[in-house]
């Protein structure tokens, strides 16, 4: 016999899997970070991808977790507050792509600044002028495995 809880009006069924964020973890799995947008990564006359890690932490889960990261910044103007989900684009043109995003592994969660220059146009990142406020959420479910395989 199976037991559980159903709330039909909102489609809740305890047989479903709910992505949840543990609130009792150290370092926290739900938090805000405040930081500069990175350094002035600069490409030269050859194609290159430059990366710098702005933040990293161990998540202490037994798998690579699913995460949600919201970048929240004031770099449009003081009243024109901007966001990004997973990635915040600093600059994007045909030859270069400058952005801040996240990286997650079986052991760590990181915030990274990446400048990709596919044509060698000698671009210098404007990251030092950005102030970032980042909300991250590390879910206690794997990103690269089915739940039933955990």
């Amino acid at each position: 016999m199976k037991s559980g809880l159903l709330i039909p009006s909102i489609g809740y069924d305890s047989a479903n899997i709910r992505p949840q964020i543990a609130l009792d973890r150290d370092p926290p799995h739900l938090d805000l970070l405040n930081m500069s947008g990175g350094t002035a990564l600069a490409s030269g006359a050859s194609p290159v991808t430059l990366t710098e890690t702005l933040f990293t932490m161990e998540h202490h889960l037994l798998y690579k977790p699913k995460v949600l990261v919201y970048f929240y910044t004031d770099f449009y103007s003081s009243t024109d507050v901007g966001y990004g989900l997973g990635t915040l684009v600093y600059a994007l043109a045909g030859a270069y792509y400058d952005r801040v995003t996240y990286a997650v592994t079986d052991t760590t969660f990181s915030i990274v600044h990446i400048l990709s220059d596919i044509a060698g146009v000698s671009y210098t990142s404007t990251a030092p002028s950005k102030k970032l406020r980042i909300k991250y959420m590390i879910f206690s479910i794997p990103e690269d495995k089915r739940i039933c395989d955990v």
Partner: protein, 262 residues
């Protein structure tokens, strides 16, 4: 007006002081739960193909994680510069097609993917009531709470492994404030403006969808092809990074705020 239901706040939060986002369950609004998940191989993508039957009867929010490339698929260019194949879901199935086959990325061929389908009819117009949206500080730890084990998982009730629970008030659940679709106005820079009424910038997800709402592309939580802003507290606005937005978009606005971690 009915005055009954179920609600439970996160551990350590007094229910009388809990914001909507701090309620681990509340029968007045929806939460983002996984209804189905599947491991699939995309094959060689030479034609449009149905790759999964969800049979839900509504167009669901879903995501698709490519295990070979370690990226989420949908609406983006692949790491080696080719166009990723299109993946979309209608109210019965998930389909895949490499619509840019001539430029197709060989790295994508025979990729293994995990598709997760959520209990969110993302194209349906839905707005939850607002019970308490003003921000409260964290309270002290509490010994009270609610835990419901997933019936398909075995495990002790005091397990720290949240994959075993369909609900655990020692954790944060993402409650949904609003879903729906909107057509972008390509004649203006900020072509998509969504009123949510929360008076604080919320977290969100967005995906392109069919003009007639008959299908939706996956949510990509990793690669964001837009700029968003929240200079008007009750409104989220979007624009394309390189060009004006056009077409219809489906969205999920959560009750969780972007600028607070409570």
């Amino acid at each position: 007006m009915t005055n009954y239901g179920i609600t439970a706040s996160q551990e350590g939060i007094d229910l009388d002081n809990a914001t909507d986002a701090q309620r681990a369950i509340d029968s007045r609004w929806r939460y983002m739960d996984i209804l189905q998940e599947a491991s699939l191989n995309l094959g060689t993508l030479t034609a449009t193909a149905k790759i999964y039957e969800h049979k839900l009867g509504f167009v669901p929010a879903f995501d698709c994680y490519n295990l070979n490339l370690n990226i989420y698929m949908g609406g983006s260019v692949s790491p080696s510069g080719g166009d990723l194949p299109s993946i979309w879901a209608d109210n019965q199935n998930v389909y895949v097609s490499n619509v840019h086959a001539i430029f197709g990325d060989p790295l994508v061929f025979n990729s293994n993917v995990i598709i997760r389908i959520y209990n969110v009819p993302i194209t349906e117009e839905y707005t939850a009531p607002i019970a308490e949206s003003s921000l409260k500080s964290k309270s002290s730890a509490s010994k009270y709470g609610v835990k419901i084990l997933n019936p398909d998982k075995s495990g002790p009730i005091d397990s720290n492994d949240l994959t075993k629970f369909s609900l655990n008030t020692r954790s944060k659940s993402l409650s949904i404030h609003k879903t729906g679709t909107q057509v972008a106005n390509s004649a203006t820079v900020w072509g998509l403006n969504i009123n949510h009424g929360l008076n604080n910038p919320p977290i969100f997800m967005i995906a392109s969808c069919a003009t007639d709402k008959s299908y939706v592309y996956p949510i990509n939580p990793q690669t964001f092809d837009f700029f968003a802003k929240a200079d008007i507290p009750s409104q989220l606005s979007f624009r394309g990074v390189q060009s004006a937005m056009s077409g219809r978009y489906a969205y999920i606005i959560f009750k969780e705020f972007a600028d607070f971690a409570l």
